[in-house]
């Protein structure tokens, strides 16, 4: 039997045809949050392993990035709120079932910790800047503060490892908690976003590192993370294939739909497979400009966030 379905009537200019209420700031934040989580995770981990002098970029030099990324990300998040003056209401309660509440509280703890971490390496990494600014001479209390932090740095590192992981997972869980958007509503999104965040973090370390040994180690780490990420993406697609009608329709956006070129072209091929091959070639011993795979991973990470946020909002229950 042929069937025609025709629905009309809900013609409301400010609501229909699509309820796209999350825009670029959300995608940008998801990327920056993941990047900061990845960098902080490696920094804290290598500090705990007492490799901070051996892998100085990962622990010390790059520590300037997370505070900037988190600050920009937080600004983007607040910019996307429509009732901005009431943002403080986030911190009047903790709602265990709401991923956004978890995220707000974790950010409230991680952001200051990332600033403190950077501050603790400020004089060591930027002696020239300090020689110009003479902050420690002008403000005496900074000396006591620095001593206190350096003494307790190991505890900050212990706290940062789980917090960075929660921050990384949260960027994915934020989306997967919405059962009304079938593209997002799968449990693999949390681990996938975490892996992607760690991978972009490792890529950022490769970009900044001047030490071949360090670059090689993070090349290997990044390669492993890319392989895990590819496996998780395969799982995600398989999950859609095995899913209900709404998930099948959601998947069509990524496989053979409007987002196919962006997803498979820019995220999977250019953002994962090509850098993985290049990193592999470099590990074997050939010379590859490391900046290329690292940049590809980072750009792929950004595009991945944009694709998931934009495409997810187009999917919905049909009734």
């Amino acid at each position: 039997m042929q069937e025609e379905l025709f629905t009309s009537g809900r013609n409301i200019p400010n609501i229909d045809p699509s309820l796209q209420i999350w825009h670029w700031p959300i995608s940008l934040y998801l990327f920056l949050g993941g990047l900061a989580a990845g960098i902080l995770f490696f920094a804290a981990l290598f500090y705990i392993l007492k490799k901070d002098n051996e892998y100085s970029t990962a622990v010390k030099v790059i520590s300037i990035v997370p505070p900037i990324a988190l600050s920009l990300g937080l600004m983007a998040l607040v910019y996307d709120l429509t009732h901005k003056l009431y943002t403080w209401q986030l911190y009047t309660t903790f709602r265990i079932e709401s991923p956004m509440s978890w995220g707000a509280w974790v950010l409230l703890i991680v952001t200051p910790l990332s600033f403190i971490w950077t501050f603790s390496y400020y004089r060591e990494v930027y002696p020239k800047t300090e020689a110009k600014l003479k902050l420690f001479q002008r403000l005496k209390f900074l000396n006591t503060f620095e001593q206190f932090i350096v003494k307790n740095r190991i505890y900050i590192a212990y706290a940062l490892v789980p917090l960075a992981l929660i921050l990384g997972v949260y960027t994915g869980i934020l989306l997967s908690a919405f059962n009304a958007r079938p593209l997002w509503n799968n449990a693999i999104l949390g681990p996938l976003f975490l892996t992607s965040g760690l991978s972009t973090g490792a890529a950022a370390i490769i970009l900044l590192s001047k030490n071949t040994k360090e670059r090689h180690l993070f090349g290997k780490i990044d390669l492993a993370l890319i392989i895990i990420e590819l496996a998780l993406i395969v799982h995600m697609i398989m999950g859609y294939y095995a899913g209900s009608q709404v998930q099948l329709e959601a998947m069509q956006l990524l496989v053979g739909g409007d987002f196919t070129v962006m997803f498979f072209g820019f995220v999977v091929i250019l953002g994962l497979i090509v850098p993985a091959v290049m990193e592999l070639i470099e590990l074997i011993g050939y010379k590859v400009p490391v900046i290329v795979p690292a940049m590809l991973v980072i750009i792929g990470g950004i595009v991945f966030r944009f694709v998931m946020v934009e495409a997810g909002q187009l999917t919905r229950f049909l009734y």
Binding site: E3, E4, N14, I15, L19, H83, K84, Y86
Partner: protein, 177 residues
């Protein structure tokens, strides 16, 4: 006490009176609405079936919007009505993303707004504005916990459906079919 709305799709003519009544009663800003009419035509000419119905927030038992709200602005009050406290809402949009019925919108003032089952009218013993104006009397409103109420009796004696029950929300707007 569990408020529910029952809408007879066989009696609805799609006049949109409920939409206008709601916009007037609740001062809904121009270009937005808390309820709307859908018109679904099924089949191939000449064997076609048309269904008209008035849709709105389903005041779900397992409300995803309340679950996702980071501040507790979205909450459930006595009678199972899902409400938004404007002063607690930060406008993050998590509830809008989480609603399978797209029943919420961002008010131009910033907070998120939606159908309240005309909570302010219920407190005065009046029916929701949409129910009270329906010219074909296709909408019914009452207490589902009371087995003798009009809504309970209708659901006992007539065939009915809810929207997207597979979303697991346990909605409380029922459609007689």
């Amino acid at each position: 006490m569990r408020y529910a709305m029952v809408i007879d799709t066989l009696k609805c003519v799609g006049c949109s009176d409920c939409v206008v009544a709601c916009q007037t009663e609740n001062n809904v800003p121009l270009g937005y609405c808390r309820d709307w009419i859908t018109e679904t035509v099924d089949g191939t000419y000449p064997n076609i079936v048309m269904e008209l119905k008035s849709e709105r927030c389903n005041h779900c038992d397992n409300a995803p919007c309340v679950r996702c709200c980071p501040t507790g602005a979205s909450h459930i009050v006595d009678g199972g009505i899902v409400l938004v406290t404007a002063d607690e809402c930060i406008g993050c949009g998590a509830c809008i993303e989480s609603c399978p019925y797209d029943a919420r919108y961002q008010h131009p003032d910033g907070y998120v707004d939606k159908c309240t089952f005309c909570h302010h009218r219920l407190e005065k013993g009046q029916l929701p504005a949409c129910v009270s104006v329906c010219p074909t009397k296709c909408m019914y409103f009452g207490d589902l916990d009371n087995p003798n109420s009009e809504v309970s009796q209708l659901l006992k004696n007539r065939k009915y459906k809810t929207l997207a029950p597979e979303a697991g929300t346990n909605p409380h707007v029922f459609y007689l079919i």
